[in-house]
């Protein structure tokens, strides 16, 4: 049965992990371990591409490729199978996860060269691929949660790869604990989903004897929740959506749970690229898009998603401006870009969110790997204040990161431009479905546009500090406030080996042309009349649409109801099946196309303005002092420390430990012990060792018994 190939996608990396863990640790041959690790992911990649693009494959048909492996849980009405499903959404996701994952594996072989824990690193990395692919391919919530926890575990293991370093160990712990908060929401969301729909499946699986409706299809006929704050606590679709979003916010590092991601940079750079940029952190976006059917019935939840997304995007971008660690800049940039994706989800542009996930995976993996290459070439120096002028020494790294820089800044034809522009346009034109009013969408657009500008500025700053200007790495006193580190003395940077530069080149190509999978009609129609937005056509059937007319929704914000049924049709509702492109084109009204083109021009101007001002600001003064509050990340860590961690610590120590544990629990035990000792002390008097005393006691006992019989007499 060819469907079993689907399980090969997830089990190949698992096998790779097992081989590396059990065999690789004995062999300790880097070539062997590297081949096993990369080979297993390569198998996944090839199978994923085959299943996606073969005739009748996941991306070419309406029905998902299903693979039922075994019935995992069947308790009463709860039915969760260990079953995989590759539909258009998960298929798209698997393609870039496996492919980018493969490239990062190859890079890591070069990057981790000579590390003592080489086998351990690749075992964990393969295990991560297994968990991530399980997450994406799961056909029900429960199995998805297994993958969800699995990636969390691997993230923990890999952040803490250098476990002998204090900051890595505590960063791993921080990531794990912060994610637990999100998982709490996710689990409650799953429970509530099951409670309401009676199912946890995404797809009806006839092979497994599945019920007629699934957790998602249940909502198809469901009335849209009212757009009120009360709906959050009403226990309906909105409650589910908000709980799921808490999970997504934890995994995808959104306010207020984003704090773990910057610290996670303590892990090796390929880990940052794979887990904390390209794949795992986008799992939250994937989950929301997967559950889009629930979200489009919960406008309040979507509003929250949009607000949090926009706030995170702006917030993280400002912090990214002032970081001096090259990986920290990229980490905040990742948070910011994830904010974009959530913003897109929040305004109902689910396809745009996935589009940005994909392009972001390309260019952010590229930038992270590039930074890894820089760090490698600089002999593990991460502080950009000690770099500068590297383009002469690392031409390939420079050239590839250059494309990544243009891509993330949103320069046309590069991948980031199309996806970011799509999100900006969808935000601008968002209907009032999940927003209080259409003018609110303009506000969100404005925030997103500022973020785009800031993105260009800080990426320019990073590039300038790293590759241009004076060669500060020879000057140990470049950073005055820091002691010159004897290990990081003057070094001569060198270009990385081909194992590292090759993935960079491939990713650079993808960052350049990857955006063409989702060129919006408004832009492609300049050249030809054919709609070439492949991605949108592919994903459209797998993603829910915002209902055009909201039934029975009464806003609490005093917005008159007619404003909900928007004058211009929201773009996501232009449900064009690939067969009916003619009809679909009619939906692109000329005004809309004009507006979209104008906005595209505006976003290009924003990007160029950002690059220009970044260049102007930092070209001559790369060490320009940034505002302290930004450099210290708005003191969020300190605030969390003071408001949450300290009270818990103090409460645990003073209250739970010193009072409850010592007083109550230990107290009860000590009381029991002392009572027994005391009773023993009294009973000891009987054991004097005087035989005659024993005899007297026996006599007394006998007399008491006889007296008792005499007293009770016949009655006995």
């Amino acid at each position: 049965m060819e469907n079993n190939l689907l399980s090969l996608i997830i089990f190949a990396p698992l096998a790779g992990a097992a081989i590396n863990w059990f065999v690789g640790r004995r062999v300790r041959d880097e070539r062997f371990i590297g081949v096993v690790a990369c080979g297993s992911v390569a198998i996944s990649t090839i199978v994923a591409f085959y299943l996606a693009f073969k005739s009748g494959g996941a991306l070419r048909s309406e029905t998902p490729v299903l693979d039922y492996i075994w019935t995992w849980l069947a308790v009463g009405a709860l039915r969760a199978d260990f079953a995989l499903a590759m539909d258009r959404l998960s298929g798209t996701y698997v393609l870039f996860v496996t492919f980018v994952g493969f490239l990062i594996h190859v890079f890591a072989v070069g990057y981790m060269h000579g590390e003592a824990g080489f086998y351990r690193f690749f075992a964990f990395l393969n295990l991560f691929m297994f968990a991530m692919l399980t997450l994406v391919l799961a056909d029900n919530f429960v199995l998805m949660f297994v993958g969800w926890e699995g990636v969390g575990l691997c993230s923990y293991l890999l952040i803490g790869y250098y476990f002998d370093r204090d900051e890595a160990a505590s960063a791993a712990k921080k990531a794990f604990i912060t994610n637990r908060i999100g998982d709490w929401g996710f689990v409650l969301g799953i429970m509530l989903t099951f409670f309401i729909t009676g199912s946890v499946s995404f797809f009806a699986n006839p092979a497994a004897g599945e019920a007629t409706h699934t957790a998602l299809s249940f909502f198809k006929g469901y009335a849209v929740d009212p757009f009120t704050a009360g709906a959050i606590f009403a226990g309906g679709a909105t409650s589910i959506a908000v709980l799921l979003f808490i999970g997504a916010a934890g995994k995808s590092a959104q306010i207020p749970l984003y704090v773990w991601l910057p610290d996670a940079m303590a892990g090796p750079t390929p880990v940052s690229a794979l887990i904390h940029a390209a794949t795992m952190v986008t799992a939250g976006v994937y989950m929301i898009v997967r559950c889009s059917e629930i979200f489009v019935h919960a406008p309040t939840a979507m509003f929250i998603v949009a607000i949090i997304g926009a706030a995170t995007a702006l917030f993280a971008a400002t912090i990214g401006l002032a970081q001096n660690d090259i990986k920290k800049v990229l980490a905040y940039s990742t948070i910011s870009q994830l904010g974009y994706m959530f913003l897109a989800c929040g305004v109902g542009a689910f396809v745009a969110a996935i589009f940005h996930v994909i392009t972001h995976a390309f260019f952010k993996a590229l930038l992270f790997l590039g930074s890894g290459s820089v760090i490698h070439g600089m002999h593990h120096e991460q502080d950009m204040r000690r770099m500068g002028g590297l383009k002469k020494y690392m031409p390939i790294t420079f050239a590839t990161m250059f494309t990544g820089w243009l891509a993330i800044s949103g320069v046309p034809i590069f991948a980031g431009f199309f996806s970011k522009d799509e999100i900006l346009w969808k935000t601008w034109s968002a209907p009032a479905f999940s927003l209080p009013s259409t003018s609110f969408s303009k506000l969100l657009w404005f925030i997103a546009a500022i973020t785009a500008f800031l993105t260009a500025v800080y990426m320019t700053r990073m590039m300038v500090m790293t590759f241009w200007g004076k060669e500060r790495f020879r000057d140990t006193h470049a950073v005055k406030q820091q002691e010159p580190d004897p290990h990081h003395g003057p070094v001569t940077p060198h270009e990385s080996p081909w194992l590292m530069t090759l993935p960079l080149i491939v990713l650079a190509v993808l960052s350049t042309i990857g955006g063409f999978i989702g060129v919006p009609y408004a832009l492609s129609s300049i050249a030809s009349d054919k709609d070439i937005n492949v991605l949108e056509h592919t994903l459209e059937p797998a993603v829910a649409q915002i209902p055009t007319a909201v039934h029975g929704a009464t806003g609490s914000h005093g917005e008159p109801a007619p404003a909900r049924t928007e004058t211009h049709a929201p773009p996501t509702t232009q449900a064009h099946a690939p067969a009916a492109t003619e009809v679909a084109h009619a939906a692109h009204s000329p005004e809309e196309i004009r507006a979209e083109r104008i906005l595209a021009v505006v976003s290009v101007l924003i990007a160029l303005l950002g690059i220009g001002s970044g260049w102007y600001l930092f070209q001559r003064r790369p060490l320009l002092q940034m505002p302290r509050i930004l450099e210290n990340k708005y003191y969020v860590d300190e605030i969390y420390d003071a408001s949450i961690i300290r009270p818990i610590e103090v409460g645990s120590r003073e209250g739970l430990w010193k009072i409850f544990d010592v007083g109550v629990i230990d107290g009860i035990l000590h009381l029991i012990g002392e009572a027994i000792t005391e009773a023993g002390r009294l009973a000891r008097w009987l054991q004097a060792g005087f035989v005659r005393a024993y005899a007297a006691i026996i006599l007394a006992g006998a007399l008491i018994l006889i007296g008792l019989f005499a007293y009770l007499g016949y009655r006995f």
Partner: protein, 122 residues
């Protein structure tokens, strides 16, 4: 009923006292037995000398034997006499072991005062 009543020695003694012949009554034996037993108990409790305590124990055993024999004769039942043999056998064994212990104690402590042997350690 009669048997039950006679389980209490004093009750039997009073019930049979109306019979004024000088033939030995059951109550006489029982009274003697009770006296002997009481002497034995008192001796065990008040004597410090191990040999004396040992003799008192023998006295108690023999008072019980006397009771067995008296009841056996009274009820014309041989079981009581059987028991006496068993008690005597056990008492002999006990005497052998007990005297052995007493000699061991005396050798170790040069004393037969039982209160000085109140701890297991020397």
């Amino acid at each position: 009923m009669k048997q039950r009543a006679c389980s209490d020695t004093s009750a039997c003694a009073t019930s049979q006292s109306e019979n004024n012949e000088m033939e030995p009554q059951l109550s006489w034996y029982l009274a003697l037995s009770a006296v002997l037993f009481t002497i034995g108990v008192t001796g065990v409790i008040i004597k410090r000398n191990i040999i004396a305590m040992f003799m008192c124990i023998e006295l108690m055993l023999n008072s019980v034997n006397l009771t067995f024999v008296a009841f056996s004769s009274f009820f014309q039942d041989v079981t009581g006499q059987l028991f006496v043999f068993i008690v005597m056998t056990v008492a002999a064994a006990e005497a052998a072991v007990g005297l052995g212990i007493i000699i061991a104690i005396f050798r170790n402590r040069e004393s037969l005062d039982v209160d000085e042997a109140s701890i297991l350690k020397l």
